[in-house]
């Protein structure tokens, strides 16, 4: 495909035009010096510490050639790293999101602490390697930290490829993803039969399907869990805004519904990291703030779920 070239030249073009316009809003900096301590969980297969709140890019970072929105996305990334975030998740399925990430990483300088998580998403097993290489070029990273088989599409050949890549040091971690409950049986089978570092599944206070089998299995097998759709693509925010936040939410420092919902997700001990997507700097800060304060315990979690059911 010609995307490699068009993607990269698009990014360069926009960067050049921004530079010409003197719009260097985000100077490169040394990230480790400016980052606060955030709560982390260990990736079971290596013990590497991962901040429990990451960043998704579905829809929010698909902004095409729009220089204004590219800059806004880079500002979200800057705020994310400043607040101590590391994992950013994308996919070749997400339109121009990978280009946007590449633009952001270029703009912010090479020292960003990014943990790059991407996916392979093609039903043609022969296209996997080419797609991954193309994705790396779009991000502008020499290798990904994590590669996942997106939605279990052609998972057998793709996992074979990812295992080979991991053995050759071309990727650090491998995994599988789904956002559909009806794929959970198949998902479990893959978890049972394949060596995986990560799984990525949908999990939020309303969609708790994975609590019964998948999360215990992940703990049992030592697999890190990324929770996607913590806000069910904003539906939960819309559903609860206007409803009263319970007074006892202050016990675990949830100041608004977004933090209430996010804290529910990350307080499950099997969750390694959640990846809310956002277009807004204030939202990314609010989300990362969840990684610094206290989290609800098991009793408070039950109370949270019951309260939400009662609304």
């Amino acid at each position: 495909m010609s995307d490699t070239h068009s993607g990269i030249s698009r990014r360069r073009l926009v960067q050049q035009s921004l530079a010409l316009a003197g719009a260097s809003l985000l100077p490169a900096r040394s990230w480790p010096e400016t980052r606060p301590a955030v709560r982390t969980r260990a990736i079971p297969s290596t013990g590497e510490a991962m901040p429990i709140v990451g960043l998704g890019t579905w829809i929010t970072f698909n902004v095409g050639n729009d220089a204004t929105l590219l800059n806004e996305s880079a500002a979200v990334m800057a705020a994310f790293f400043e607040a101590g975030g590391r994992m950013i998740d994308s996919s070749p399925m997400y339109g121009s999101s990978q280009d946007t990430l590449g633009f952001g990483l270029d703009t912010l300088g090479s020292s960003t602490p990014v943990f790059s998580a991407d996916k392979v998403w093609t039903s043609n097993a022969n296209n996997g390697a080419g797609q991954i290489e193309h994705s790396q070029q779009r991000w502008g990273v020499p290798r990904f930290d994590l590669l996942q088989v997106h939605n279990l599409v052609a998972w057998e050949p793709h996992l074979r490829l990812l295992r080979q890549m991991k053995a050759a040091g071309e990727v650090r971690y491998i995994g599988i993803t789904t956002s559909e409950s009806r794929r959970h049986a198949e998902f479990e089978n893959v978890m049972h039969g394949q060596p995986l570092d990560f799984i990525q599944v949908s999990y939020n206070i309303i969609n708790r399907d994975i609590e019964d089998r998948i999360l215990p299995l992940a703990m049992d097998k030592g697999i890190a869990v990324i929770a996607n759709r913590p806000f069910q693509q904003k539906q939960l925010i819309h559903r609860f805004e206007g409803k009263p936040l319970p007074a006892w939410a202050s016990e675990f420092e949830a100041e608004n519904w977004a933090q209430f919902l996010l804290k529910y997700v990350i307080s499950h001990p099997a969750i390694t990291c959640t990846i809310p997507a956002t277009t807004r700097v204030d939202h990314v800060r609010e989300n990362l703030a969840c990684a610094t304060g206290p989290l609800p315990d098991a009793n408070q979690r039950e109370r949270m779920a019951a309260y939400v059911r009662s609304l």
Partner: protein
């Protein structure tokens, strides 16, 4: 391929409403000084479709074909495809429509065969005038600025609505059936996209589709070459 069956329509909408409308901002900025020219050319078409003069008819059809090409490359290819990979696959269909319009014009299938009092003529004019003059203003109506106005020749929807209008006015049966499917498909797909984005503009396209349906279903409007005799008597319009 069973992976595809597991997706819903909204799963294919990879971008936000804000990003979608800003695409028009960008293409209008790119068109820049050409924008008044495009609007003027659109108005020329409004005059051109009245004409029974062969050269004017051909020029109008070729102008319409050129507007399909400009909308394919400037909007679909350059701006829309980066946020929606499916847009790339629409480009050949836009080029096909442009080629068919040119072909139908050269083979005298776009000659305005209707009587002046035929309602289809007036539905066609209404659609064309709407596409040229009112559709661009809907950006203001729905709380955006004129910067994201949808202009015929840049916006696929505006170009498709204008084409549907022109076809109702000028097309003989063969041209009608050959040239209708692509602009109809554009309107349907856009209606679905806008509906999934949750924007009320989707209903405009539904109304356009209903107008076309009404035009095609009205018995009086079925074209027969027998109309030519009547037209011969009506040459002095």
């Amino acid at each position: 391929m069973d992976a595809w069956f597991s997706y819903r329509l909204s799963d294919f909408i990879l971008f936000s409403e804000r990003v979608y409308w800003r695409l028009f901002d960008q293409v209008n900025t790119l068109a820049g000084a050409l924008l008044p020219v495009l609007i003027a050319l659109g108005c020329l078409m409004l005059v051109g479709v009245w004409s029974r003069h062969r050269t004017v008819q051909t020029a109008t059809a070729f102008l319409l074909a050129a507007l399909w090409i400009s909308s394919a490359f400037l909007f679909l290819w350059h701006y829309y495809a980066p946020v929606n990979w499916a847009a790339r696959y629409a480009v050949p269909f836009f080029l096909l429509e442009a080629s068919l319009i040119a072909l139908m014009s050269l083979t005298r299938q776009l000659t305005r065969p209707l009587m002046r009092n035929d309602p289809r003529l007036w539905l066609g004019f209404s659609l064309l005038a709407y596409a040229l003059a009112i559709h661009p203003l809907t950006s203001l109506l729905f709380g955006r600025t004129f910067d994201s106005a949808e202009i015929v020749g840049l916006s696929p929807d505006a170009t498709a609505i204008a084409t549907l209008g022109i076809l109702l006015i000028t097309a003989r049966p063969l041209a009608l059936w050959l040239l209708l499917p692509i602009p109809l498909a554009v309107c349907m797909l856009s209606a679905l996209t806008l509906y999934s984005l949750g924007t009320p503009e989707a209903w405009i396209l539904v109304i356009v589709l209903l107008v076309i349906l009404v035009a095609l279903l009205t018995p009086k409007l079925n074209l027969h070459d027998g109309n030519d005799a009547v037209i011969a008597n009506a040459r002095d319009w």
